[in-house]
Structures are given as structure tokens and as C-alpha cells.
């Protein structure tokens, strides 16, 4: 059964009890991303702190409508990026994205993407990769907006 490879326990745990869910104030930017093939949506807010190289991610809050994969991966995102410098958060994002788009070729580095490695199985299902990236892309976009406004 390949199902267990895709839906690893970590994913199901995050799905059942998502971390950091809900929309919180204050925030610097809010984005709304949809997955055009299935209609899944996420509204995501970021609050940054400091500036320049010292800028850090103070909070990521979100509301989402979607499958287990998209919900779990947004939950994992908050675990990984909150408290990190923006630079570090983007490194993690790139690493997660690289793994997710690798068609199962890149296992992912647990040191960098933590629970994110549980999504290595998902990367073998191209139609689900967008689910895994939905929250991450919303986050990337939100940070870019903060920077733009600055």
C-alpha cells in the first residue's frame, strides 16, 4: 500500500491538529492563494520584526480550506519559519520546494526542513505537489509584499 508512504503519520498529525491555525493580529501583510484545479484556499498573514538582515518572522497565522496535505504542510510551515530570520525562512522554503517538486528524487534534509521531510512521499504525486506548496507560496508572497511596501 503506497498510501502510507504519502500520508505519513506526521502529516496526519499535523492535519488533525494544525499548528498556528487561525488569523491573528497584528500582521504586516495578508495573502489569499487558491489552487485553481481543486478550489482549495488559504488566507495567510505574516508579521515580521526588525529590519535588514536582522528581520525575523514573528508570526504566521492562517485560515485554510483544503485537503490533508495542504493543511498539514501549512502547519509544518509555521513550525519551521516562525522565529527564524527571513533569510533563513526562505532557505527553508527553497529546500522544501525543491524536495516537493523533485518527483521523489530528493529526500530533503531533516536538519533544514524538519517535519517537512514527511512530504517526500507527496512529491511522487505531481497533482498533489501544489497542495503541499499552497501555504508556502502564500507565505512567500506575503513576505514579498511586506518588502514591497517597505
Amino acid at each position: 500500500m503506497q498510501l502510507e508512504q504519502m500520508y505519513q503519520e506526521i502529516i496526519l498529525d499535523h492535519y488533525r491538529q494544525p499548528h498556528g491555525a487561525g488569523l491573528r493580529d497584528p500582521f504586516d501583510a495578508e495573502t489569499h492563494h487558491v489552487n485553481p484545479t481543486c478550489g482549495d484556499e488559504v488566507t495567510l498573514r505574516v508579521k515580521l520584526d526588525g529590519d535588514g538582515a536582522n528581520r525575523t518572522v514573528q508570526d504566521v497565522s492562517y485560515e485554510s480550506l483544503g485537503c490533508s496535505i495542504s493543511q498539514a504542510s501549512t502547519s509544518v510551515l509555521t513550525d519551521l519559519v516562525v522565529g527564524k530570520s527571513v533569510e533563513e525562512a526562505f532557505r527553508i522554503l527553497e529546500s522544501f520546494q525543491e524536495m516537493a517538486q523533485s518527483r521523489g528524487k530528493i529526500a530533503g534534509d531533516e536538519e533544514v526542513i524538519g517535519d517537512g521531510i514527511a512530504f517526500a512521499g507527496v512529491s511522487k504525486y505531481p497533482a498533489r505537489v501544489k497542495c503541499a506548496l499552497l501555504g508556502w507560496m502564500a507565505f512567500k508572497d506575503a513576505v514579498a509584499r511586506v518588502k514591497e511596501e517597505a
Binding site: G66, C67, I69, Y125
Partner: protein, 429 residues
């Protein structure tokens, strides 16, 4: 419609399945393929593949252009396909235009209308297609994006207003939700919803449209492949369907337009083969259907679609409909028994074709689909290009099972088991 009776005789599905090479493959870890996604695209029988290949290995040439023997033969084959499809749909050959898919067919009408709305250089005959501010284009809330977005864009281009019939809780067009008026220029609607399976009250909608002088556009994508359809009898002005949903090739679709209308309509895509006379200063155009078939067309695909029509006709569309009706019954009956399953659309067989969509409490459609896929069952998950309809039901995504002549009762019965497994897997059972 006399088309919705159930003949007692069933199809010889086992023999039919032998014609479809893809059905014998396995997926995932060696599981037999259970293809319940024919609403998205159907599979092709050997007869269709062979017809295309025979054409390409024997008669292939550019049609309507050359004078050599191959060109003659290719043109004959291409036009013979048009004639077959005409017989199949109760139309005249010259009322059928080959397009790349139904989406292009609907866009053709929408663009011909906005082209008419720019009156420079046009004859008086195109005036009936012109729309502008104050005019209304009417659709329904259950439309596939292909029969919605082109009309939104037509409105953007011309200043006309889009209005729509809403959908009732049980998945029918709510005829009380809108009044047409003299400003209504088009009423466009799906013959069968690709999500709900519900059949539109075509007669009544045509009557209402005609009463105000509006053109009717029937999205027949989910009807022509699955039941007997006589476009002339339905009385619609235009209709669109795709080859790939009716056992035919991809890359070919059909626009039906009543002769009188196609005659008067300005072209959409322009180029070679659709002209009467070309000068640098301006051009005039050929009569329909050529006027609407610019460039070298989808020749072998039209031939393949002709073969698909032969194949379906040999089975008989009444029998096809009856078969799918039985499959729909089984799907509804077995799914109804699974806890937490909610059917989106009519939960009966009345005025209904074979697309069965549902949600599962606590398990997202994508996740249900993944569990089914793991068992070899291919369904569609998402909004099936009918996003507003899903919003109407307050849901993002459904699971849809859809059928064709090769689908067995046993396959359909596996669906409910798969849904049960999904509920267990995600801990909601």
C-alpha cells in the same frame, strides 16, 4: 423527450471492453484500472484508433485545397465524417463546424457576436448577433467554465451584462430565479451538468428564449456522448460538444449552428480555406461551414470522430443511456449507504444522466481521490471546472464518478468500498 426510456436489454460490456486496449492495464501496484473519469475524457476503442491510422497511412493530405488524388480522398473522408456526425445528432452536415474542442465552439459563437458588435465593414445580416450595453447574456450557475467564462468575456468586450439562473438545492436550474426580457440576447446552458448529472429542461428554456428573441446555446458536452440527441428537434440555435468525451479523438469538437444563423454570422478565426476572395485591402469569406474552419483542420481527428459515431451508433444511444442509467442507480444506491457521504445533485434517476458527485464528511475530496487511486479507481476530484456551482453548495471540491459504455456495475460498486476505506484511513469512520 422520448430518449430517456430504459430498454431492458443490457450491453455486452465484456465484449465492448475488449475494444479498449487501455482498460486492460494496471495502475499503482498492479491494480486493475477502474476508470470512472469518462466525464473528463473517455477512452478510445481500437476501431477509432484504426480508422485514424488507416486514414493517415492511406489518404492523408490537406483537405479542401489540393487537386491530386490524395487530396480528393482526404476531403471525401473528412466530409463523410461530418455527414455521419450530422446523422448522429439530427443536423445537416453544413450545420456542423469542426473545432478543436467544445470550448472553442462556444468561444466561436461568443467571438462572432463581439465581432458583429463592431459594425465597421459588416453586412446587415450580422446585426442580429450584435450586443452592447443594456443587453443581457444569460447562463446558469451550474455551467462548466467553458460555458461561462467566454460569456463573461463577451460582456467585458461589449458592455453587455451577464445574468444567470441559480441552482436549486437538489441541483436543478431554478426556473423561477430569473426573468428573461427583450434585452436578453443569448441563453446558454448545459444539456447535462458535468457535476450533478442533472438534465436541463431544454424545451422550456428554448421556449422562454424564443419568446424574447434570444439565441440559445446548448452545451451538449455531456449529453451527445451519453444519450440520443437530436439537435434539430431540441430547437436550439447553437450546440457544442467534444470528440474526446464520446470515444473519439482529442483535438476535435463540433459547433452546431442552424443554417440560417451560420449563414449570417461573421467569422471567428481567420486565415486559409475560409476565404472567398483576398486582397491586401480586404477579404470576403466563404459560406459555412468553411467560413469557420480556418487553416488546415484536424483531419484525421474528424475521421476518428466519425468512427466513434459509428461505434456508438452500432451499440445504440438508447442502450448507452440505459446502461449508464443502471450504473448511476448502482452508484447512488451504494454510496447512499456509506455514512458521511452526501450526494451533490439529484439523488434519483429522474431527468438525470450519469455523473455522480459527492462529498465525504471530514475527508477532503482530494484525499478521498487519493485513497481511490491507490485502489486503482480513477475519479475526478476538485470543482470539475464548475467552481461557482461548488460555491453555491458551499464546498470547495467534490469527488465525481462518471461512466461510459465500457464501465461495469462491478467497477461502480467498488466506489463505495473505496470511500469506506478513505473514511477509515482518515479516522472518521
Amino acid at each position: 423527450m422520448t430518449t430517456l426510456q430504459t430498454p431492458t436489454a443490457g450491453l455486452d460490456v465484456a465484449t465492448i471492453r475488449d475494444d479498449f486496449p487501455i482498460l486492460s492495464r494496471t495502475v499503482r501496484e498492479g491494480r486493475p484500472l477502474v476508470y470512472l473519469d469518462s466525464g473528463a475524457t473517455s477512452q478510445r476503442p481500437r476501431q477509432v484508433l484504426d480508422a485514424e491510422r488507416l486514414f493517415l497511412e492511406t489518404h492523408n493530405a490537406a483537405v479542401h485545397r489540393g487537386a491530386h488524388q490524395l487530396a480528393e480522398e482526404a476531403t471525401d473522408d473528412y466530409e463523410a465524417a461530418r455527414s455521419k456526425i450530422a446523422v448522429f445528432t439530427g443536423a445537416e452536415p453544413e450545420e456542423l463546424v469542426f473545432t478543436k474542442n467544445a470550448t472553442e465552439a462556444i468561444n466561436l459563437v461568443a467571438y462572432a457576436m463581439s465581432n458583429s458588435s463592431i459594425r465597421t465593414g459588416l453586412g446587415a445580416e450580422s446585426e442580429r448577433f450584435a450586443v452592447g450595453p443594456g443587453d443581457e447574456i444569460v447562463v446558469t450557475e451550474l455551467e462548466h467554465h467553458a460555458n461561462l467564462v467566454p460569456w463573461q468575456e463577451l460582456c467585458r468586450r461589449t458592455g453587455a451584462t451577464l445574468r444567470w439562473y441559480s441552482v436549486t438545492e437538489d441541483g436543478r436550474i431554478d426556473l423561477d430565479s430569473l426573468e428573461l426580457s427583450e434585452r436578453t440576447k443569448v441563453v446558454a446552458f448545459a444539456h447535462q451538468s458535468n457535476v450533478l448529472g442533472s438534465l436541463a429542461p431544454v424545451e422550456e428554456l428554448v421556449r422562454r428564449a424564443q419568446a424574447v428573441g434570444a439565441l440559445t446555446v446548448l452545451d451538449a458536452c455531456q449529453s451527445v456522448p451519453h444519450m440520443p440527441v437530436n439537435l434539430t428537434e431540441l430547437g436550439v440555435d447553437f450546440a457544442a460538444f467534444s470528440g474526446h468525451k464520446m470515444l473519439g479523438p482529442s483535438g476535435v469538437g463540433v459547433l452546431y449552428g442552424r443554417t440560417e444563423l451560420l449563414d449570417a454570422m461573421p467569422p471567428f478565426i481567420t486565415g486559409g480555406s475560409m476565404i472567398e476572395m483576398v486582397r491586401m485591402e480586404g477579404s470576403t469569406y466563404a459560406p459555412p461551414p468553411q467560413r469557420f474552419e480556418a487553416g488546415v483542420p484536424m483531419t484525421s481527428q474528424a475521421v476518428g470522430l466519425g468512427a466513434a459515431v459509428d461505434y456508438l451508433s452500432a451499440i445504440g444511444m438508447d442502450a448507452v443511456f440505459a446502461h449508464e442509467r443502471e450504473l448511476t442507480r448502482v452508484a447512488l444506491d451504494t454510496l447512499r449507504e456509506v455514512e458521511g457521504v452526501r450526494i451533490i445533485g439529484p439523488d434519483s434517476l429522474e431527468q438525470r444522466g450519469g455523473a455522480v458527485s459527492f462529498v465525504v464528511d471530514g475527508v477532503h475530496a482530494h484525499d478521498v481521490g487519493q485513497v481511490l487511486d491507490d485502489r486503482g479507481i480513477a475519479v475526478r476530484v476538485g470543482h470539475h471546472c464548475a467552481w461557482p456551482l461548488h460555491r453555491r453548495f458551499g464546498i470547495a471540491a467534490t469527488v465525481r464518478a462518471s461512466f461510459h459504455v465500457y464501465t461495469t456495475v462491478e467497477e461502480v460498486a467498488q466506489l463505495a468500498d473505496g470511500v469506506r476505506a478513505a473514511r477509515e484511513f482518515f479516522g472518521v469512520a
